[in-house]
Amino acid sequence: MEEHIIGQSVPRKEGRDKVTGHARYVDDLKFPDMLHGVTVRGSVPRGRVRGIYFEGEIPWAEFTIVTAKDIPSKNCVALLIEDQPCLASEFVNHPEEPVVLLAHPDKYLLEEARRAVRIDIEPLPAIFTIDDSLAKNQIIWSEDNIFKTFRVEKGDVDSAWGKADFIVEGQYETGAQEQLYIEPQGMIARANAEEGVTVWGSLQCPYYVHKALVRLFGLPKERIRVVQTETGGGFGGKEEYPSMIACHAALLAWKSGKPVKIIYDRAEDMAATTKRHPSRTRHRTGVTRDGKLLAMEIDFTLDGGAYETLSPVVLSRGTIHAAGPYHCPNVRIRSRAVATNAPPHGAFRGFGAPQSVFALERHLDRLASAVGLAPEELRRRNFIREGQALAVSQVIHEKVDMGRLLDRALDLSGYYAKRKHFREENSQSAIKRGIGFAAFLHGAGFTGSGEEYLASEVALEATREGRVRVLAGSTEMGQGTNTIFAQIAAETLGLDYEQIEILQPDTAVVPNSGPTVASRTAMIVGKLVESAARAVQQALFQSGFLKQGYGTKDFANACRQYIDKFGTLQSLVKYEHPPDLHWDDENYRGDAYGAYAWAVYVAEVSVDTRTAEVRVEDFVAVQEVGKVINPVLAAGQIEGGVAQGIGFALYENVVWQEGRMVNGQMTNYIMPTSMDVPPIRVFFEEIPYARGPAGAKGIGELPLDGTAPAIANAIAHATGVDILRIPVTPESLLSLLESVHA
């Protein structure tokens, strides 16, 4: 037995199936008599549906056809509210709105049929930008196009401006970003009056899908079952949209009486499913001559697309992270998410924070230059310390040393020498090199009272043979849930990693552990796994069948005796909110998150001024994340997140036309390949967090926050160009370079 299994890089639980091709993803499953299903969409950004026509030489009688009127209960995809229809009936509000569903055994004929459905829509005026939405020329959602607003106030911003030696303003924008998991979305459903509804699919949050199906069918909860199949990446993109596809597949299955499989192809996935919210952030910052922050006024706006979906919570996280890991006595943040006639934007790793952190970290470099300080010196003078309060007035009680993270990151990247060296070299070269960094934090778990409200549960059971099963609704999508849960259970129980089994998330079997999002799985649900394991161990101790200092065989013997006597050996634990964490939702003040990860990332770039191409040459990521449970998996999370951040900064440009993505192919929407990534050097500092399992905090989203601004700051350093918008494509950089030299 390992001395400590936590902290070891054990191979991932399902790894062998993945490297041999035996792992079963949704499209690998086949049911007898199964039909294929497709979605027919409106294709007009906004309008009134006048009629649906089934044309062409298609044997329509062979098809199962579903429209809104076939929905058994409420026509909505239930999420925070119920504003998004499952199938549009009278109105369409974005160009990818589903209107008709078709099913047939032959998927080739089905594709022809999809093209032969004509949906006649009378167009209505539509809006596509944040400005158009705010101008309210057209009201497309509720009374004012506004999904949600937040206001954060700390100190007295208005009276602080007069004391500032410098006031610097700026406006920053980020584009939409496609999650681009390599496995497109898909679902299989079986549904009939006798059995109820069961779906199998690629998804992050089984109980979100469950909730949506309950609402759509009006069936009792126990008649709806959701099973997660092996999931080929999610990154937030499989948080909400799988509910839509599950609803569609289930409607077709319900009507046809046969199992129905819907698998999106890449083009449909990119066109219709959610993306990262486009954003605009305005900063106005007052600072003293010696670089102390006096006042920050931040105005943060997200384009939410046509329905509310998750925009309020994305906005919330973006708002709370907008003022970063700094201490400023006077802060005002105003934020809003607005409606446009594009498919709803949604969760993508970072969840609003990458947008507002990009703005802040670019702004602070510009502020430093206005004050005449080095960017690192300006940050150093304002980093938050224990006992000081963040913008939402959360006093930091954990040990935090951003200065140390900064020193280490700058040292490991050779920052000072390169800063000097590049300045000397660049004047003689068409290739300009630069180095820049970003300092940031990321809160783990749901915001404010969110975890209390979720009240997540985890169960654990032991078999007569002394094997232990973890029952959790948390999903594995590549990030390592199975592995770290097994490590936590093994460590707590003093067992081997191989003795722990993680059950497939299936709402008929596992409790609701909350969604697999928000960097919450390791810290929040992992802690529940630890508690559930301890509860089983306590039961064995109390029964007298197990004694302290036991070995693996003793454990198995004790399980056998316990089960022979009592029938089963199980525990079920529920999240308990720490009583000292307080959140005031009304005023948006208080303990926004139980814990934060803290980080400084440094990017080195080269810019070819002839082609305006940017290459990231080196990348150093230093972060404090509490105890690292599995170093290989944890580093893998950071490296993968940094690569996605490189895409966000440089390549991933969603081109919109009338609310529709027009470059929805991997050919023209460019994500980083193996040729585009630099050495990504990952370093962890570990300060155990008392409430995390073995001291762990969350890390999943963290790397998306700091990567893009570090790269943008490096480009600005290399070229002297003021980067205010990402992605920095060669086209956009070329015009910036030309304007500098003009």
Binding site: G15, T20, V677
Partner: protein
């Protein structure tokens, strides 16, 4: 009936086994392998030859099976991910991916492993730059490629020890 609309009979060798398939000549080899041969380890990521998730070996060459018409499989020797391990013994590349974090969500992994195996068959000791270049037709959204490079380097080292 036009020729393309009639199924043809194809003889090929898949993972060392002589196999007869019936398929429309222009059907995608990817679909024929998955649906008729039951080899679902080969994945579809994009359907247009960009992502490499459907990579297989055909007569020793790495191809995107979503772009190969079934008729080209006639007489071909095909290897899919299911044919990489030797029974229960993993190939050095598979073992390295398992140990060094080369696989996360696993959807690009079969194609990525075939690309790596194909590279090592041609060049048992590639430089890191060669690894980076030869895997550039296979997209991975999870790993940032870092641990994939490390896995391939480790597989070379292991294979070198065995040789």
């Amino acid at each position: 009936m036009p020729e393309a609309a009639r199924k043809i009979r194809l003889q090929c060798v898949i993972n060392g086994r002589a196999t007869t398939l019936e398929a429309y000549p222009m059907a995608r080899l990817l679909d024929v392998l998955r649906e008729q041969a039951g080899l679902t380890g080969t994945k579809e990521g994009c359907g247009e030859g960009e992502c490499g998730a459907c990579s297989i070996e055909m007569d020793g060459a790495l191809v995107n099976s979503c772009l190969v018409p079934a008729l080209q499989a006639e007489g071909a020797k095909i290897r899919t991910i299911e044919g990489v391990a030797d029974g229960a013994t993993l190939h050095a590349v598979q073992q390295a991916f398992l140990t060094h974090g080369g696989a996360q969500c696993g959807i690009c992994t079969p194609g990525m492993i075939l690309a790596a195996v194909n590279l090592l068959a041609r060049n048992p000791q590639p430089s890191e730059a060669e690894i980076q270049e030869k895997l550039s037709g296979n997209l991975c959204r999870c790993t940032g490629y870092t641990k994939i490079f490390a896995s391939v380097v480790e597989a070379c080292r292991e294979a070198g020890k065995r040789a």
